[in-house]
Symmetry: C2
Subunit: 247 residues, 2 copies
Amino acid sequence: MKVLEIYKIGGNCIDNEQVLDTFLNDFTGQAQSKILVHGGGVMAGQMANSLNIPVKMIDGRRITDRETLKIVTMVYAGWANKNIVAQLEKRGCRAMGLSGADGSTMVSVQRNPLPVDFGFVGDLTPEGINTDLINDLLRLGITPVFCAITCTKKGQLLNTNADTVAGVLASAMRKYFHVRLIFVFDKEGVLYPQTGEVIPLLSKKQYQVLKEQKIVTSGMLPKLDNAFAALEKGIEEVYVGKTKLQL
Amino acid sequence: MKVLEIYKIGGNCIDNEQVLDTFLNDFTGQAQSKILVHGGGVMAGQMANSLNIPVKMIDGRRITDRETLKIVTMVYAGWANKNIVAQLEKRGCRAMGLSGADGSTMVSVQRNPLPVDFGFVGDLTPEGINTDLINDLLRLGITPVFCAITCTKKGQLLNTNADTVAGVLASAMRKYFHVRLIFVFDKEGVLYPQTGEVIPLLSKKQYQVLKEQKIVTSGMLPKLDNAFAALEKGIEEVYVGKTKLQL
């Protein structure tokens, strides 16, 4: 089975021109089939601020109301997505920027408003991925670049967690590929606290020990929990930076 | 040779939900290969207003500075494009929203800053169109939905006139298709002033007479001039609404 690499980049990459440049050079250099999934970075928040749209939070989680949906669609699917695509094309990588609406590539369901109404937020499962169309694009030599905007069957755009998008795409594309899922971040990988060197292979058991010893810092916990969850769902290879995870 | 229909819609369609709905129903019903090109509507201006970004004009023409480019990319490639795609997918039309950056489908050149520096504005010619990739997408049953954002070889996004985009795409795609270019607008077509009925066929000569008699109103002049120019460039069929033009 052919290898498909799915890279997820977030704000720490998108908001730093130099980090993004380095990543896009490396990414373009990967010869095999690949997909890029990106989050939004700080720009959506800045735009909301400039437009005096208040950030609404419930239990520490952001609510996507109608105005916020407009902003994230503009920033993620418009500015961020098209700039990443332009930078990849400039490097000779044949890229196509997509939201879940495009070709119904990612059909989601609006999250149940009970117990908490998060607004225009989409939940995505592998059944919602148009794997055939994505595979057709890959066979044309196209690298899909997905922003984390999905869409319901009824044409409602929805804000979606970018880590979730990457994980669900990875699960779904196993139909056609041996999938390698890579969560890119600003560090090289998970680091040994003493030496600062990358841990090449991290088992779930070792991860538990690092957590208990509070060696893995708080910012890394959700990233690693999410990455191990992807591994548990059957994705063949999962990396956090250059650290390979195993169960 | 197979027929390809290229529809161009502007603000009068995009800004009116009911007009857009009717158009998208008709568009989805067209069985042959088709492309949609859309302008931006009033939202970009509203967004610039809300963000207190002044509209800069020289000789009555808008200048696209860096901040304006960001706004038009967000509004055209993000909000407008993804909503149109979502509404088409809901109707069962397999649509994919693209800028010129995506797959280098529309590679433009930044307009010479002399004599007037229009800023981040792109000029597009048929040589800049990736006709092979667009044809590949059409063969997959995909309807490309283009916003009027193009991109240089060096990855610079550029604001481009949507009528020009439609005309240049039409010229370029003649390589593979018998092209029918349709400029959609709020009226049914060019109307007889007495009866209000659509003129089914309008020759350039008749158009000159209507202009001299001031029967064609001023708002229609640039549209019709532009449409006749497309016809003169060799595009097989050009319509303004339901009025077919001929030389």
